[in-house]
Protein backbone atom coordinates (compact mmCIF):
# COMPACT_ATOMS: atom_id res chain seq x y z
CA UNK A 1 0.00 0.00 0.00
CA UNK A 2 1.17 3.47 -0.78
CA UNK A 3 0.74 6.44 1.54
CA UNK A 4 -2.25 7.76 -0.41
CA UNK A 5 -3.98 4.40 -0.07
CA UNK A 6 -3.53 4.46 3.68
CA UNK A 7 -5.02 7.94 3.92
CA UNK A 8 -8.07 7.13 1.83
CA UNK A 9 -8.75 3.60 3.06
CA UNK A 10 -8.30 4.10 6.79
CA UNK A 11 -11.41 5.47 8.42
CA UNK A 12 -11.72 6.68 11.96
CA UNK A 13 -14.52 5.37 14.05
CA UNK A 14 -16.62 6.95 16.76
CA UNK A 15 -16.56 5.22 20.09
CA UNK A 16 -18.26 5.65 23.44
CA UNK A 17 -16.54 6.29 26.73
CA UNK A 18 -17.99 6.90 30.14
CA UNK A 19 -16.83 9.87 32.13
CA UNK A 20 -18.01 9.25 35.65
CA UNK A 21 -19.95 8.47 37.78
CA UNK A 22 -16.71 8.07 39.72
CA UNK A 23 -14.46 10.42 37.83
CA UNK A 24 -11.89 12.50 39.67
CA UNK A 25 -12.58 15.56 37.55
CA UNK A 26 -16.36 15.42 37.86
CA UNK A 27 -17.43 17.07 41.09
CA UNK A 28 -19.96 14.46 41.99
CA UNK A 29 -21.60 11.36 40.72
CA UNK A 30 -22.49 12.60 37.25
CA UNK A 31 -22.07 10.14 34.41
CA UNK A 32 -21.37 11.58 30.98
CA UNK A 33 -21.59 9.21 28.05
CA UNK A 34 -19.19 10.69 25.52
CA UNK A 35 -19.21 9.91 21.83
CA UNK A 36 -15.69 10.70 20.73
CA UNK A 37 -13.60 10.45 17.64
CA UNK A 38 -10.05 10.30 18.84
CA UNK A 39 -10.02 13.06 21.37
CA UNK A 40 -12.71 15.19 19.74
CA UNK A 41 -16.12 15.13 21.38
CA UNK A 42 -19.05 14.52 19.07
CA UNK A 43 -21.76 14.12 21.64
CA UNK A 44 -22.22 14.40 25.39
CA UNK A 45 -25.07 12.49 26.96
CA UNK A 46 -25.47 13.16 30.68
CA UNK A 47 -26.93 10.29 32.66
CA UNK A 48 -28.43 11.31 35.96
CA UNK A 49 -29.82 9.56 38.97
CA UNK A 50 -26.77 8.42 40.91
CA UNK A 51 -27.51 10.74 43.81
CA UNK A 52 -31.28 10.96 43.51
CA UNK A 53 -32.77 11.10 47.00
CA UNK A 54 -36.34 12.02 46.04
CA UNK A 55 -36.21 15.23 48.03
CA UNK A 56 -39.29 16.60 46.27
CA UNK A 57 -41.28 13.55 47.33
CA UNK A 58 -39.95 13.77 50.87
CA UNK A 59 -41.15 17.36 50.99
CA UNK A 60 -44.70 16.14 50.36
CA UNK A 61 -44.38 14.00 53.49
CA UNK A 62 -42.90 16.64 55.80
CA UNK A 63 -44.38 19.70 57.44
CA UNK A 64 -43.32 23.13 56.20
CA UNK A 65 -40.89 23.59 59.09
CA UNK A 66 -39.26 20.24 58.39
CA UNK A 67 -38.92 20.89 54.65
CA UNK A 68 -36.35 23.65 55.19
CA UNK A 69 -33.59 21.32 56.38
CA UNK A 70 -33.95 19.14 53.27
CA UNK A 71 -33.03 22.06 51.03
CA UNK A 72 -29.56 22.14 52.62
CA UNK A 73 -28.92 19.02 50.66
CA UNK A 74 -29.84 20.35 47.21
CA UNK A 75 -27.04 22.68 46.32
CA UNK A 76 -25.03 22.20 49.47
CA UNK A 77 -22.73 25.09 48.69
CA UNK A 78 -25.56 27.61 48.81
CA UNK A 79 -27.50 25.93 51.59
CA UNK A 80 -28.42 29.17 53.28
CA UNK A 81 -29.91 30.59 50.09
CA UNK A 82 -31.94 27.42 49.50
CA UNK A 83 -33.33 27.64 53.03
CA UNK A 84 -34.22 31.25 52.38
CA UNK A 85 -36.15 30.34 49.22
CA UNK A 86 -38.45 27.93 51.04
CA UNK A 87 -38.91 30.27 54.00
CA UNK A 88 -39.78 33.20 51.72
CA UNK A 89 -42.30 31.08 49.83
CA UNK A 90 -44.00 29.96 53.05
CA UNK A 91 -43.91 33.47 54.54
CA UNK A 92 -45.43 34.99 51.41
CA UNK A 93 -48.15 32.35 51.38
CA UNK A 94 -48.99 33.04 55.03
CA UNK A 95 -48.75 36.80 54.51
CA UNK A 96 -46.07 37.21 57.17
CA UNK A 97 -43.77 40.23 57.00
CA UNK A 98 -40.47 39.44 58.72
CA UNK A 99 -38.66 42.20 60.67
CA UNK A 100 -35.95 44.23 58.95
CA UNK A 101 -33.34 42.63 61.20
CA UNK A 102 -34.14 39.22 59.76
CA UNK A 103 -33.96 40.56 56.21
CA UNK A 104 -30.56 42.13 56.80
CA UNK A 105 -29.08 39.07 58.47
CA UNK A 106 -30.48 36.81 55.77
CA UNK A 107 -28.90 38.96 53.07
CA UNK A 108 -25.51 39.04 54.78
CA UNK A 109 -25.60 35.30 55.31
CA UNK A 110 -26.64 34.71 51.71
CA UNK A 111 -23.72 36.79 50.44
CA UNK A 112 -21.28 35.02 52.76
CA UNK A 113 -22.59 31.73 51.39
CA UNK A 114 -22.16 32.99 47.85
CA UNK A 115 -18.58 34.02 48.64
CA UNK A 116 -17.81 30.62 50.17
CA UNK A 117 -19.35 28.87 47.19
CA UNK A 118 -17.39 30.95 44.68
CA UNK A 119 -14.18 30.39 46.63
CA UNK A 120 -14.67 26.65 46.48
CA UNK A 121 -15.53 26.87 42.80
CA UNK A 122 -12.39 28.90 42.14
CA UNK A 123 -10.20 26.39 43.93
CA UNK A 124 -11.75 23.46 42.14
CA UNK A 125 -11.58 25.25 38.80
CA UNK A 126 -7.84 25.58 39.23
CA UNK A 127 -7.59 21.95 40.22
CA UNK A 128 -9.55 20.81 37.16
CA UNK A 129 -7.23 22.76 34.89
CA UNK A 130 -4.22 21.32 36.68
CA UNK A 131 -3.21 24.05 39.12
CA UNK A 132 -3.37 22.45 42.55
CA UNK A 133 -2.15 25.49 44.46
CA UNK A 134 -5.38 27.43 43.89
CA UNK A 135 -7.33 24.90 45.92
CA UNK A 136 -5.23 25.52 49.03
CA UNK A 137 -5.62 29.29 48.85
CA UNK A 138 -9.36 29.07 48.31
CA UNK A 139 -9.84 26.73 51.25
CA UNK A 140 -7.72 28.92 53.49
CA UNK A 141 -10.17 31.79 52.98
CA UNK A 142 -13.27 29.63 52.94
CA UNK A 143 -12.32 28.34 56.37
CA UNK A 144 -12.87 31.84 57.78
CA UNK A 145 -16.45 31.88 56.49
CA UNK A 146 -16.99 28.40 57.86
CA UNK A 147 -15.83 29.59 61.27
CA UNK A 148 -18.26 32.52 61.15
CA UNK A 149 -21.06 30.11 60.25
CA UNK A 150 -20.04 27.69 62.97
CA UNK A 151 -20.20 30.39 65.60
CA UNK A 152 -23.54 31.93 64.62
CA UNK A 153 -25.39 29.11 62.92
CA UNK A 154 -23.89 26.05 64.56
CA UNK A 155 -23.06 24.21 61.37
CA UNK A 156 -20.49 24.62 58.65
CA UNK A 157 -22.20 23.24 55.58
CA UNK A 158 -25.79 22.15 56.14
CA UNK A 159 -26.78 25.26 58.01
CA UNK A 160 -30.56 25.19 58.39
CA UNK A 161 -30.46 28.68 59.91
CA UNK A 162 -33.72 29.98 58.44
CA UNK A 163 -37.07 28.93 59.72
CA UNK A 164 -40.40 30.12 58.31
CA UNK A 165 -40.92 33.40 60.14
CA UNK A 166 -37.32 34.36 60.73
CA UNK A 167 -34.10 32.85 61.99
CA UNK A 168 -33.29 30.02 64.35
CA UNK A 169 -31.13 32.14 66.65
CA UNK A 170 -30.05 35.75 66.80
CA UNK A 171 -26.56 36.48 65.46
CA UNK A 172 -23.65 35.77 67.77
CA UNK A 173 -22.26 38.88 69.54
CA UNK A 174 -18.94 38.45 67.73
CA UNK A 175 -20.52 38.05 64.31
CA UNK A 176 -20.10 41.60 63.00
CA UNK A 177 -16.46 41.84 64.00
CA UNK A 178 -15.61 38.48 62.49
CA UNK A 179 -17.34 39.32 59.21
CA UNK A 180 -15.49 42.64 59.02
CA UNK A 181 -12.19 40.88 59.71
CA UNK A 182 -12.94 38.42 56.95
CA UNK A 183 -13.84 41.14 54.43
CA UNK A 184 -10.62 42.98 55.30
CA UNK A 185 -8.62 39.78 54.81
CA UNK A 186 -10.38 38.76 51.61
CA UNK A 187 -10.01 42.14 49.93
CA UNK A 188 -6.27 41.53 50.17
CA UNK A 189 -6.56 37.89 49.10
CA UNK A 190 -8.62 38.45 45.97
CA UNK A 191 -5.77 40.14 44.01
CA UNK A 192 -3.69 37.07 44.89
CA UNK A 193 -6.35 34.93 43.25
CA UNK A 194 -6.13 37.05 40.13
CA UNK A 195 -2.35 36.87 39.92
CA UNK A 196 -2.34 33.13 40.51
CA UNK A 197 -4.98 32.15 37.97
CA UNK A 198 -6.88 34.91 36.17
CA UNK A 199 -3.79 36.56 34.68
CA UNK A 200 -1.94 33.33 34.04
CA UNK A 201 -1.41 32.85 30.31
CA UNK A 202 -1.65 29.06 30.45
CA UNK A 203 -4.93 29.27 32.33
CA UNK A 204 -6.29 31.83 29.90
CA UNK A 205 -5.35 29.70 26.91
CA UNK A 206 -7.19 26.76 28.39
CA UNK A 207 -10.42 28.76 28.80
CA UNK A 208 -10.61 31.44 26.12
CA UNK A 209 -12.72 30.41 23.16
CA UNK A 210 -13.76 27.18 24.88
CA UNK A 211 -17.44 26.38 25.43
CA UNK A 212 -19.01 29.36 23.74
CA UNK A 213 -22.63 30.06 24.72
CA UNK A 214 -24.43 32.54 22.52
CA UNK A 215 -27.09 34.84 23.95
CA UNK A 216 -29.86 33.03 22.09
CA UNK A 217 -28.72 29.59 23.25
CA UNK A 218 -28.48 30.69 26.85
CA UNK A 219 -32.06 31.91 26.77
CA UNK A 220 -33.31 28.87 24.85
CA UNK A 221 -31.74 26.41 27.27
CA UNK A 222 -32.74 28.34 30.37
CA UNK A 223 -29.20 28.96 31.57
CA UNK A 224 -29.18 31.26 34.58
CA UNK A 225 -26.82 32.77 37.09
CA UNK A 226 -23.19 33.67 36.43
CA UNK A 227 -23.11 31.26 33.48
CA UNK A 228 -25.79 33.29 31.67
CA UNK A 229 -24.34 36.62 32.74
CA UNK A 230 -21.09 35.57 31.07
CA UNK A 231 -23.08 35.65 27.81
CA UNK A 232 -24.41 39.12 28.55
CA UNK A 233 -27.90 38.20 29.72
CA UNK A 234 -29.23 40.24 32.59
CA UNK A 235 -30.88 37.64 34.81
CA UNK A 236 -29.90 38.47 38.38
CA UNK A 237 -32.97 37.75 40.53
CA UNK A 238 -31.51 39.95 43.25
CA UNK A 239 -31.77 42.88 40.87
CA UNK A 240 -34.91 42.08 38.90
CA UNK A 241 -37.13 40.73 41.70
CA UNK A 242 -35.44 41.93 44.89
CA UNK A 243 -36.17 39.88 48.00
CA UNK A 244 -34.95 40.24 51.60
CA UNK A 245 -32.76 43.37 51.82
CA UNK A 246 -31.51 43.46 48.24
CA UNK A 247 -33.71 46.47 47.45
CA UNK A 248 -31.87 48.45 50.14
CA UNK A 249 -28.34 47.92 48.84
CA UNK A 250 -26.56 49.19 45.78
CA UNK A 251 -24.63 46.71 43.72
CA UNK A 252 -23.79 46.09 40.10
CA UNK A 253 -24.99 43.17 38.10
CA UNK A 254 -21.86 41.80 36.45
CA UNK A 255 -22.40 41.39 32.72
CA UNK A 256 -19.74 40.23 30.27
CA UNK A 257 -20.67 39.85 26.61
CA UNK A 258 -18.11 37.25 25.50
CA UNK A 259 -19.81 33.95 26.31
CA UNK A 260 -16.80 31.63 26.59
CA UNK A 261 -15.50 29.82 29.67
CA UNK A 262 -13.13 32.62 30.63
CA UNK A 263 -15.97 35.16 30.64
CA UNK A 264 -18.02 32.96 32.93
CA UNK A 265 -14.95 32.68 35.13
CA UNK A 266 -14.51 36.45 35.24
CA UNK A 267 -18.19 37.02 36.10
CA UNK A 268 -17.77 34.94 39.23
CA UNK A 269 -14.50 36.64 40.18
CA UNK A 270 -16.16 40.06 39.92
CA UNK A 271 -19.25 38.82 41.71
CA UNK A 272 -17.11 38.10 44.74
CA UNK A 273 -16.21 41.79 44.90
CA UNK A 274 -19.87 42.76 44.60
CA UNK A 275 -20.77 40.37 47.39
CA UNK A 276 -18.22 42.06 49.61
CA UNK A 277 -19.68 45.46 48.71
CA UNK A 278 -23.16 44.26 49.68
CA UNK A 279 -21.92 42.94 53.03
CA UNK A 280 -20.04 46.21 53.64
CA UNK A 281 -23.24 48.19 53.20
CA UNK A 282 -25.27 46.01 55.56
CA UNK A 283 -22.96 44.83 58.31
CA UNK A 284 -22.92 48.07 60.33
CA UNK A 285 -26.60 48.84 59.81
CA UNK A 286 -28.29 45.70 61.12
CA UNK A 287 -31.42 47.18 62.72
CA UNK A 288 -32.52 46.24 66.22
CA UNK A 289 -35.55 44.05 66.58
CA UNK A 290 -36.78 40.51 66.84
CA UNK A 291 -35.09 37.72 64.98
CA UNK A 292 -38.28 35.82 64.36
CA UNK A 293 -42.03 36.22 64.09
CA UNK A 294 -44.20 33.80 66.01
CA UNK A 295 -45.73 31.25 63.68
CA UNK A 296 -48.17 28.47 64.55
CA UNK A 297 -46.50 25.24 65.67
CA UNK A 298 -48.01 23.45 62.69
CA UNK A 299 -48.04 25.69 59.63
CA UNK A 300 -50.90 25.10 57.22
CA UNK A 301 -50.80 27.09 53.99
CA UNK A 302 -54.07 28.23 52.47
CA UNK A 303 -55.15 26.38 49.33
CA UNK A 304 -53.32 27.63 46.27
CA UNK A 305 -50.09 27.79 44.32
CA UNK A 306 -47.03 29.70 45.44
CA UNK A 307 -43.77 30.47 43.69
CA UNK A 308 -40.62 32.10 44.98
CA UNK A 309 -37.33 32.49 43.23
CA UNK A 310 -33.95 33.45 44.60
CA UNK A 311 -30.47 33.83 43.20
CA UNK A 312 -28.18 31.11 44.46
CA UNK A 313 -24.48 30.99 43.69
CA UNK A 314 -25.31 28.95 40.59
CA UNK A 315 -28.34 30.76 39.26
CA UNK A 316 -32.05 30.96 39.71
CA UNK A 317 -33.59 28.60 42.22
CA UNK A 318 -37.37 28.43 42.06
CA UNK A 319 -39.59 26.92 44.73
CA UNK A 320 -43.10 26.00 43.64
CA UNK A 321 -45.64 24.87 46.22
CA UNK A 322 -49.13 23.56 45.57
CA UNK A 323 -51.02 23.46 48.84
CA UNK A 324 -54.33 21.74 49.48
CA UNK A 325 -54.65 23.30 52.92
CA UNK A 326 -53.08 20.41 54.81
CA UNK A 327 -49.97 20.41 57.00
CA UNK A 328 -47.71 19.24 54.17
CA UNK A 329 -47.74 20.42 50.56
CA UNK A 330 -49.59 18.56 47.81
CA UNK A 331 -46.68 19.11 45.43
CA UNK A 332 -43.29 20.64 46.00
CA UNK A 333 -41.14 21.45 43.00
CA UNK A 334 -37.65 22.90 42.77
CA UNK A 335 -36.46 24.66 39.67
CA UNK A 336 -32.80 24.05 40.20
CA UNK A 337 -30.19 26.10 38.32
CA UNK A 338 -27.85 23.15 37.87
CA UNK A 339 -30.30 21.07 35.85
CA UNK A 340 -30.92 23.79 33.27
CA UNK A 341 -27.24 24.66 33.08
CA UNK A 342 -26.38 21.01 32.47
CA UNK A 343 -28.72 20.82 29.48
CA UNK A 344 -26.50 23.12 27.43
CA UNK A 345 -23.35 21.05 28.08
CA UNK A 346 -23.86 18.86 24.98
CA UNK A 347 -24.31 21.84 22.68
CA UNK A 348 -21.26 23.79 23.81
CA UNK A 349 -18.75 20.97 24.16
CA UNK A 350 -19.17 19.43 20.68
CA UNK A 351 -15.96 19.73 18.70
CA UNK A 352 -13.80 20.35 21.76
CA UNK A 353 -11.33 17.92 23.30
CA UNK A 354 -12.02 15.79 26.37
CA UNK A 355 -9.68 17.92 28.50
CA UNK A 356 -11.69 20.98 27.48
CA UNK A 357 -14.89 19.30 28.64
CA UNK A 358 -13.50 19.33 32.18
CA UNK A 359 -12.83 23.06 31.86
CA UNK A 360 -16.32 23.68 30.47
CA UNK A 361 -17.97 21.71 33.26
CA UNK A 362 -15.97 23.64 35.79
CA UNK A 363 -16.91 26.97 34.22
CA UNK A 364 -20.61 26.04 34.43
CA UNK A 365 -20.07 25.22 38.13
CA UNK A 366 -22.12 22.09 38.65
CA UNK A 367 -23.16 20.74 41.99
CA UNK A 368 -24.53 17.29 41.24
CA UNK A 369 -26.96 16.90 44.18
CA UNK A 370 -28.61 20.08 42.90
CA UNK A 371 -29.11 18.51 39.48
CA UNK A 372 -30.44 15.20 40.78
CA UNK A 373 -32.27 16.20 43.96
Amino acid sequence: MTTTDVNTNLKTQEYLINMGPQHPAAHGVLRLILTVDGEIIHKVDPDLGYIHRSIEKMCERDTYKQIVHLTDRLDYLSSHINNEAVCLAVENALGIEVPDRVKYIRTIMAELTRLASHQLWWGVMGMDIGALTAFMYAFRDREMINDIMEETVGARLTMNYNIPGGLMFDIHPGFQKKVKDFIKHFRKALPEYNTLLSDNIIFKKRLQGIGYISKEDAIAYGVSGPSARGSGISCDVRKIHPYSAYDKVEFNEILIEGGDSYDRYMVRMKEMEESMNIIDQLIDNIPEGDFQVKTPALIKLPKGEYYQKVETARGELGVFIISDGKKSPYRFKFRSPGFSNLSILDKISRGHKIADLVAIMSSLDFVIPDIDR
Binding site: Q66, G154, T158, M168, F169, D199
Partner: protein, 167 residues
Protein backbone atom coordinates in the same frame (compact mmCIF):
# COMPACT_ATOMS: atom_id res chain seq x y z
CA UNK B 1 7.88 36.60 10.62
CA UNK B 2 5.09 38.11 12.72
CA UNK B 3 3.91 34.66 13.68
CA UNK B 4 7.33 33.79 15.03
CA UNK B 5 7.52 37.02 17.05
CA UNK B 6 4.03 36.36 18.43
CA UNK B 7 4.97 32.85 19.36
CA UNK B 8 8.05 33.87 21.29
CA UNK B 9 6.36 36.82 22.99
CA UNK B 10 3.63 34.45 24.14
CA UNK B 11 6.18 32.07 25.56
CA UNK B 12 7.84 34.99 27.32
CA UNK B 13 4.52 36.27 28.71
CA UNK B 14 3.64 32.77 29.84
CA UNK B 15 6.93 32.55 31.68
CA UNK B 16 6.41 35.95 33.30
CA UNK B 17 2.89 35.11 34.49
CA UNK B 18 4.18 31.82 35.84
CA UNK B 19 6.90 33.63 37.78
CA UNK B 20 4.34 36.09 39.16
CA UNK B 21 2.27 33.20 40.46
CA UNK B 22 5.33 31.55 41.92
CA UNK B 23 6.15 34.85 43.63
CA UNK B 24 2.95 34.54 45.64
CA UNK B 25 3.52 30.94 46.62
CA UNK B 26 7.14 31.80 47.42
CA UNK B 27 6.03 34.65 49.67
CA UNK B 28 3.81 32.26 51.61
CA UNK B 29 6.59 29.70 51.76
CA UNK B 30 9.00 32.00 53.59
CA UNK B 31 6.56 33.88 55.85
CA UNK B 32 6.88 33.76 59.63
CA UNK B 33 5.79 30.55 61.40
CA UNK B 34 3.24 32.53 63.43
CA UNK B 35 1.08 33.02 60.37
CA UNK B 36 0.80 29.32 59.60
CA UNK B 37 -2.82 28.28 59.70
CA UNK B 38 -2.42 24.55 59.27
CA UNK B 39 -3.65 22.65 62.31
CA UNK B 40 -1.99 19.52 63.64
CA UNK B 41 -5.11 17.43 64.16
CA UNK B 42 -5.48 15.12 66.14
CA UNK B 43 -2.49 16.27 68.23
CA UNK B 44 -4.25 19.54 69.04
CA UNK B 45 -7.53 17.84 69.96
CA UNK B 46 -7.52 19.15 73.55
CA UNK B 47 -7.11 22.75 72.49
CA UNK B 48 -9.76 22.78 69.75
CA UNK B 49 -12.36 25.46 70.32
CA UNK B 50 -15.90 25.20 69.03
CA UNK B 51 -18.70 27.71 69.01
CA UNK B 52 -21.23 27.06 71.75
CA UNK B 53 -23.92 26.61 69.10
CA UNK B 54 -21.98 24.00 67.15
CA UNK B 55 -24.23 21.01 66.54
CA UNK B 56 -22.50 17.66 66.76
CA UNK B 57 -24.84 15.26 68.50
CA UNK B 58 -27.82 15.26 70.79
CA UNK B 59 -27.42 14.77 74.55
CA UNK B 60 -29.61 15.01 77.60
CA UNK B 61 -28.49 17.13 80.49
CA UNK B 62 -28.36 15.46 83.92
CA UNK B 63 -27.68 17.30 87.17
CA UNK B 64 -25.68 15.98 90.14
CA UNK B 65 -28.68 14.18 91.60
CA UNK B 66 -29.24 12.27 88.36
CA UNK B 67 -32.31 14.33 87.51
CA UNK B 68 -33.43 15.20 83.99
CA UNK B 69 -35.72 17.80 82.50
CA UNK B 70 -37.51 15.44 80.10
CA UNK B 71 -41.13 14.70 80.99
CA UNK B 72 -41.66 12.41 77.98
CA UNK B 73 -43.99 14.84 76.18
CA UNK B 74 -42.80 13.47 72.80
CA UNK B 75 -42.73 16.88 71.07
CA UNK B 76 -39.23 16.14 69.81
CA UNK B 77 -40.38 12.82 68.38
CA UNK B 78 -43.11 14.63 66.45
CA UNK B 79 -40.96 17.41 65.02
CA UNK B 80 -38.05 15.18 64.00
CA UNK B 81 -38.13 14.88 60.20
CA UNK B 82 -36.22 11.59 60.10
CA UNK B 83 -37.56 9.58 63.00
CA UNK B 84 -34.22 9.62 64.78
CA UNK B 85 -35.82 10.03 68.22
CA UNK B 86 -37.90 7.40 69.98
CA UNK B 87 -39.36 8.14 73.39
CA UNK B 88 -40.29 5.03 75.36
CA UNK B 89 -42.54 5.78 78.35
CA UNK B 90 -45.18 4.38 80.70
CA UNK B 91 -47.91 5.91 82.86
CA UNK B 92 -47.36 6.05 86.59
CA UNK B 93 -49.47 7.51 89.38
CA UNK B 94 -47.92 10.53 91.03
CA UNK B 95 -47.37 9.68 94.75
CA UNK B 96 -48.47 13.17 95.92
CA UNK B 97 -51.49 14.00 93.76
CA UNK B 98 -52.45 10.54 92.62
CA UNK B 99 -52.78 11.72 89.01
CA UNK B 100 -51.39 9.45 86.33
CA UNK B 101 -48.41 10.98 84.51
CA UNK B 102 -46.07 9.99 81.71
CA UNK B 103 -42.71 8.72 82.94
CA UNK B 104 -39.69 8.34 80.69
CA UNK B 105 -38.25 4.86 80.35
CA UNK B 106 -35.77 5.25 77.56
CA UNK B 107 -34.84 8.15 75.33
CA UNK B 108 -33.53 6.43 72.21
CA UNK B 109 -31.50 8.52 69.77
CA UNK B 110 -30.54 7.12 66.38
CA UNK B 111 -27.43 9.06 65.42
CA UNK B 112 -27.34 7.26 62.07
CA UNK B 113 -30.59 8.94 61.02
CA UNK B 114 -29.98 12.38 62.47
CA UNK B 115 -29.41 15.31 60.11
CA UNK B 116 -28.55 17.78 62.90
CA UNK B 117 -31.32 20.20 61.93
CA UNK B 118 -31.80 21.33 65.55
CA UNK B 119 -35.62 21.25 65.32
CA UNK B 120 -35.94 18.98 68.37
CA UNK B 121 -33.84 21.26 70.54
CA UNK B 122 -35.90 24.29 69.48
CA UNK B 123 -39.17 22.46 70.05
CA UNK B 124 -38.40 21.10 73.52
CA UNK B 125 -40.57 23.01 76.04
CA UNK B 126 -38.36 22.09 79.01
CA UNK B 127 -34.92 22.45 77.39
CA UNK B 128 -34.19 18.84 78.27
CA UNK B 129 -32.13 18.03 75.20
CA UNK B 130 -29.25 19.96 73.70
CA UNK B 131 -26.56 19.59 71.07
CA UNK B 132 -23.01 18.97 72.25
CA UNK B 133 -19.66 19.48 70.56
CA UNK B 134 -18.45 15.88 70.32
CA UNK B 135 -17.95 15.73 66.61
CA UNK B 136 -16.01 12.47 66.31
CA UNK B 137 -18.89 10.10 65.75
CA UNK B 138 -17.17 7.25 63.92
CA UNK B 139 -17.78 3.80 65.42
CA UNK B 140 -16.92 0.23 64.50
CA UNK B 141 -20.46 -1.11 64.37
CA UNK B 142 -23.71 0.45 63.23
CA UNK B 143 -25.53 -0.65 66.38
CA UNK B 144 -23.32 1.67 68.42
CA UNK B 145 -24.99 4.61 66.70
CA UNK B 146 -28.24 3.94 68.52
CA UNK B 147 -27.90 5.53 71.90
CA UNK B 148 -29.99 5.79 75.05
CA UNK B 149 -29.58 9.34 76.25
CA UNK B 150 -31.04 9.18 79.75
CA UNK B 151 -28.82 7.50 82.36
CA UNK B 152 -30.28 4.55 84.25
CA UNK B 153 -32.28 5.59 87.30
CA UNK B 154 -32.64 9.21 86.20
CA UNK B 155 -35.83 10.97 87.31
CA UNK B 156 -37.75 13.96 85.97
CA UNK B 157 -37.53 16.99 88.24
CA UNK B 158 -39.77 20.06 87.91
CA UNK B 159 -37.34 22.13 90.00
CA UNK B 160 -34.54 21.39 87.55
CA UNK B 161 -36.79 22.59 84.69
CA UNK B 162 -37.77 25.79 86.51
CA UNK B 163 -34.14 26.61 87.30
CA UNK B 164 -33.13 26.20 83.68
CA UNK B 165 -36.05 28.20 82.29
CA UNK B 166 -35.30 31.09 84.70
CA UNK B 167 -31.95 31.57 83.02
Amino acid sequence: MNAIINYFSEVLNGGISLLKGMGITGKHFVRSPKEIITQQYPENKDTLVFGERFRAQLFMEHNDENQIRCDACQTCETVCPNGSIEVVWHREADPETGKKKKVLDKYVYHLSMCTFCNLCVLACPTEAIKMNQEFETAVYDRSELTKVLNKPGSKFSQDFVDKSLEK
